[in-house]
Symmetry: D2
Subunit: 491 residues, 4 copies
């Protein structure tokens, strides 16, 4: 349980240059610190209860971030842990995708074993899981392909590599090529778990692969992405220079990378691609209840602090806005709790999965409410949020007394306190982690809408309505009394 | 378990006239049928699992609507049962207020016993509960006083009777006077449980009373209220004449009504009034997750059916709207599930209560989303929703062939099917049960906002933010690691 | 200028029965009164300035409701007049569709004359217009066909009569058949102007007709539609019995109706159908700024009155809600003013039309905000909105003193004042005129979205963006500096 | 008409350091370029018609940005010009506050002359205006004081300088002290017009001052504020390094600054402070219709371009989102047009002012819709908005071919085009100009709500409702037929 290492053997690029030590680079340090919080959580007093779990696979307690859920309580613990960790980091801590990938691989390889009697994938995965759990590895999960022309299937693309695919089969394993975008935490992890990103047809078979590789595998390149406001990281400084944790996301490029068979968890299994994506997505959508409501708490707390600094925390319209922020934030969280408590088992002996309706409702709320919370926080903070002087101004001896005098609200708080809270609000409420990720993480809003539409049983609702309207059931059998079960819920 | 009786001895007024048999009156029959569904639920195949529960008080299974919750599962079963019952009734079934009143009385009388050693209220209540459970009685819960000048306390009102109060203490009991408004189902129940409606001060002591009385107690008058579209109930007819179930609400007037001591559950206990209201309100707010999402299903199903009749169910913008309706509806439900699963115990041995944050979030969502769902359903239904001919037109031999020809959409459905679905939508999406009650039931939106504001720990959120901003904890001790507990959560 | 007559020779059906005198029937009287307000407006002191206009066609002042707009000021006067009239009626006054039909016919027949040199339609229309203006006739405009299968064109329908069409051409005129739905005011007007409802192809030519007929033309049947709460009109009574004005809408059935050539304004002109609909729709969408904001005023005023009756008008959260209602209401109105002031000329010498973007924005706001205004009004009004006793209860001598005591809020207002205001709110905020019509009138929301999408110049916006991004203009010529003009804006 | 100069004599601080040449500093250059667009507009072909106006004060055409509005058409031209200029700058061009200050000073000094016969302020102002118009000066308007404790009046503050005030009266003029926050464009202008920021009482008289000073007046310090993402300006580069125009805002500190009498336009005129603020605010709120809808166009165009790059521009859900963005954007603009066309005259011979209701509606829409537009644009753009590689990565020869391959969508567009459009979207949709300023510019949302509440005539609305409810007018005279006029509308 050592946490994040230098990754000196991996090909990682930041702002066009190769990085030798991710733990030291000003662009990546904030992300390393945020990742570290997931390791520390298992040892800190206020989180260790949530952050540890007993793994039947290795027969001991493991960090929850590498745990396979053993029941609804584990799924509930997930969202509760994520909310608490957000309070410590103020950003995404980047370890959920890998965690959700592990649980998805367990379910899918398990289902292939159950349904088709092919236990090879499951056996390989269990071995890999033990290795991950024993070493408390940091994993990235890589799902989103770069996709080229969005309206074409993988096999129809003008660019054959627009989706990651197998280019060669060797005795010892396979060779893969392609790129995955928006990969959270990818530049600092031990390993990357690669997954298919969409439903496939037989013609897309070479694209239906899942596997795990160490980050420093030959042929792997990582190009770290930019985030709003990141230029300030280069400035240094303890107020303006982003002395925060941040997540990072990046482009993962696989140039003919060799993967040994024991690390291949799906190979041309195009029939299982759709369910793979569905299982993963819903795990990940559920998780947003925790991390995004945790960020919401930070923003609410900052807004509350700024309101107190201005002496307006008791004004009715400010209380209205604070209450509205809480309401929106807790609505997100409550949907995630429902998705967790209403968990279902996908395998005969486990494979605990979230309720897909509430998981999608969670994420869809996340795709809407944070912009509203951000707006309300800006409203309370005042225009200075967009116009406050710099840390360097505050430190300039000629300006400091003037700024101390003019930036102060009520006398109980200093100008520096105001500036620090404004900067925190700027870098949380206008962050990629709180806005863009809330829209696109775990699938864009349209993906949730498609899921919601598919999970809901419209025919049954119509049959209920027809009965109340005094109409007979339709011949097509719409009168079934019980709701349709999602296809993937086998048990 | 006989259900609703004639109530010939009670003084019930409908449209200015005394009613002799509530089961026969065209205004009340729809309500009686809806009430009946709660009794039938314990016997019908698809609901009996949810609608029965083992009561330790009488040592046997009882109808869940008179059950004291024994754990989170019971609270979850409540919202699931309510959703299912809404599918059968298409309206409020009116038995939740009484049920929530029983659970509240159990908690409050239990807390008085635990905290102050006074077991009299608890003992009286347990005896009453056994009577109710054994006879599966229909109860109304009466909380909302008429309130006079809203900004004044009970004891400050120009009209001393603006809140129900004790006017005399006798050897065998008390005499009470006042009126309660918006009392759901009040004209058809066996008994009414009267509760205080707000926090009190010592000067309001005479208003801090709770008791139960049979509906036909001398001095009790019930004036049944009007609802939008109710005039059609007087018309008869199987399409237009509201052949639906409806709830009713009414004004309960108590003119110097005698209540024997064994039916008095709180007497001048002004210190307990605030908590009484809080416990009750949150039970009731949680319940709305079930009944209102069930109504939402009916409206979604009706809109889906109408879209199919017009041949537009597959159009992208119609699917967007249907999906949005589902999303809004399931968001309501998921908050209610969270409120239930995250239940807490208020007594040493029970008194299982909902999570107050999620219960308030539930109700606040209910106070917003149904108007949006209604609007979307109207959008899909088409303008004919507000202009469709009458049932009598359809039955006029001269008009019938014309209407059959011109009201038909796709040939698979008849004009009558269209008319029936339009009428159903009119009477659900524009109903008091779905709109006005969704705003005001279990407290108006402002009441939830006040609760949300009180339950949320702003100081803790601010402390989290300060830490992230690099600021020290404030001297006032805002750095506590754990969230504040609601005052009422004793265990 | 006599207003509405008995229409004893027309075949009008209400609740399945033929009506002899529309001015006396309890279902239609409220509508007749509302229509009358449009005639009276030209004579009442506070409206005559707005309600009269000089017509160059007849060389004298006419009622504005039959006026052809002569400039932007006339279009502005339209929305201002409509807002004022809504204050007098509290509902739709039903004369706008006919008015907009006149203006549309003027534009389209004028364009045919200008573009194609065919002046016959224009000449016929001018003669008809003079007749209408001189006699101040009440006109209904009939556009919406019943449409059968929504996804099929008129000529593709299984029911050939699903759209109104020519079935025979005679020497003196044409014979038409079909039905038009949702026709506002149709049962009480002098004449009906029939218009095509959608874009047509050559195969739909027989459906591309427009004409005017007196209501009592042989073969014409009108089936008056139902509205929410209409059953109470049959009760009588001055509080509950809907002593209000209401609009009505109905189904217009044309069974082989003969129309003389001089009343035919479009005959198989399928090429002009699309533009006809566009011109009409935007006139009508603009108008909603006036009438719906006027209804909004009524609802705001009612909510304000009820808040004062309860003593809560000064509470911050009530003021927030009232202010929000005003904001939403004035947003609607301001969009309509913009659509009017930014009018454009469609003919060389007139044909003043609204700006299509702002007209569509107006209507799209109308399709959203009234539900929100209604919800806020219900929030302020309190639950009694859905539970108040009946007028008959109030008049029952046994109940009256009790109700006077218990329904009173602050002493300055009586229980009857409260009841009257609650009933008014019920019948405005939950009315077809304020809700369903706001969604569907002048085209459902999707129709506005299609218009908005077509009017906006996305290519130009993208060219602006490319320039700012440092990219060259695309070869396809997206760099045009000026916005695209809507196809129909000829001048 | 030379535009922006170096300002080498002014004390301007950026990131803690004194700036010698604002036209060369990487932080201020983008702002200088944006300012320049306002000068160029009077000469460029597509804007010169809008950007020039005839000034009766100097008897010749002037740049509209220093023009006193002579009628509604001038106010309309203002919003149209602002929209067009936003297309050229992609940000705020910073000259409106000064312009609105001129118009406000004209109205207020004119009213003092008309009402009280004191023409001194007006005469001084006219002389100043001529100077500004003849030299086409760049002006900042400084209204918002730093305010200290928000709930206290100026004279009650613990920090006496929390509002700008007169500290000494001399023979030749006055000496002022204090600071103004959020001053748009302040570091690069010729002159600053200082205005009072709130209603005053007699005890606040020393704070009720307005005057103009050159930026390089002794005692004036400007501290330029930070904006989200500004760190990148220090990087250089033509894609990432913010090669855009930006506005800037800053803190204006006045340390005992001397102002000669001829530049003092209000002196201790506490009675006029409230109206001053009202007149100014509404001018400024109206303007947002133009500039923010122009920014909206840029964002819509960028989203449209990105959708085309991904091949999804024709997908129904993308079209829904683009249409929604247009609708929201045009709603803002149409309210501003209404505020302009419905202008009113505040002086006997001019002083044309906006309609206060629609101006407030405009700004209130601006305070809400941009966050929604931003969210929709992020939805369309895809997650790469928050994760795209840097310009330096694209220029790295090892990475370039990989990025060109993997960032490309449809083959018609290059990876660089995608990156440029993503960066543009990042820097417009997440900018201070589009978000924080939209909330706080021209007063925070609560300020508009207070205005809306005050302008709307609730009593009249209630009187309308009472009449419809069959109630008599209240004795208090609520029956007035005409709406209340805003206090400030004298003519």
């Amino acid at each position: 349980m050592e946490g994040i290492k230098r990754r000196e053997h991996a090909e990682i690029f930041v702002l066009g240059k190769r990085v030798d030590d991710v733990t030291a680079h000003p662009f990546l340090k904030p992300s390393v610190k945020s990742f570290k919080a997931t390791f520390d959580a298992a040892f800190e007093e206020d989180t260790r209860g949530l952050a540890r779990a007993y793994s039947p696979f290795v027969g001991e307690e493991v960090n929850r971030f590498v745990h396979i859920h053993q029941g609804p309580e584990d799924l509930v613990a997930k969202v509760k842990l994520l909310r608490k960790l957000s309070h410590k980091t103020g950003t995404c801590f980047q370890r959920c995708v890998g965690w959700d990938a592990l649980n998805t691989l367990y379910v899918i390889s398990g289902k292939i074993a159950e349904r088709e009697g092919r236990k090879e994938y499951l056996n390989r995965f269990i071995e890999y899981l033990k290795y991950v759990q024993k070493n408390d590895l940091a994993l990235a999960g890589a799902m989103t392909d770069v996709k080229g022309v969005r309206t074409l299937r993988p096999s129809e693309q003008p660019n054959r590599d627009a989706y990651v695919h197998v280019v060669e089969e060797k005795a010892g394993g396979i060779v893969v090529r392609g790129a995955k975008a928006n990969i959270t935490g990818v530049a600092v992890v031990d390993e990357v778990v690669v997954m298919p990103t969409r439903a496939m047809t037989e013609r897309d078979a070479e694209y239906a692969v899942s596997f795990a590789i160490p980050l420093d595998t030959p042929g792997v390149k990582v190009v770290v992405g930019r985030q709003i406001n990141d230029g300030r990281r280069l400035e240094g400084g303890e107020i303006d220079g982003l002395p925060y944790m941040f997540n990072h996301e990046g482009l993962l490029i696989l140039e003919d990378v060799f993967v040994p068979w024991e690390r291949v968890f799906l190979y041309k299994e195009w029939r299982w691609a759709a369910q793979f994506v569905e299982v993963f997505s819903n795990y990940h959508r559920q998780g947003y209840a925790g991390c995004k409501s945790g960020l919401g708490d930070v923003i609410i707390g900052t807004a509350h602090g700024l309101a107190r600094q201005l002496g307006i925390a008791d004004k009715p319209h400010v209380q209205e806005k604070l209450t509205e922020m809480v309401f929106l934030n807790e609505a997100i969280y409550s949907a995630g709790l429902a998705a967790s408590w209403e968990a279902r088992r996908l395998l005969k002996n486990g494979g605990w999965w979230v309720d897909p309706m509430y998981a999608n409702v969670t994420k869809h709320l996340v795709a809407r409410f944070p912009y509203e919370v951000a707006k309300l926080s800006h409203d309370i903070a005042g225009g200075l949020l967009g116009t406050a002087p710099s840390e360097a101004d505050l430190k300039n001896p000629e300006l400091r007394p003037l700024l101390e005098k003019y930036l102060q609200g009520v006398p109980e708080f200093t100008a520096e306190e105001r500036l620090r809270m404004l900067r925190l609000l700027e870098n949380t409420s206008l962050s990629v982690a709180y806005l863009v990720e809330s829209v696109h993480g775990a699938g864009s809003p349209q993906a949730q809408r498609i899921s919601i539409q598919r999970v809901y049983d419209f025919q049954r609702a119509e049959a209920i309505a027809r009965r109340l309207a005094g109409l007979k059931a339709e011949a097509s059998g719409d009168a079934r009394a019980e709701p349709r079960r999602p296809a993937e819920a086998e048990k």
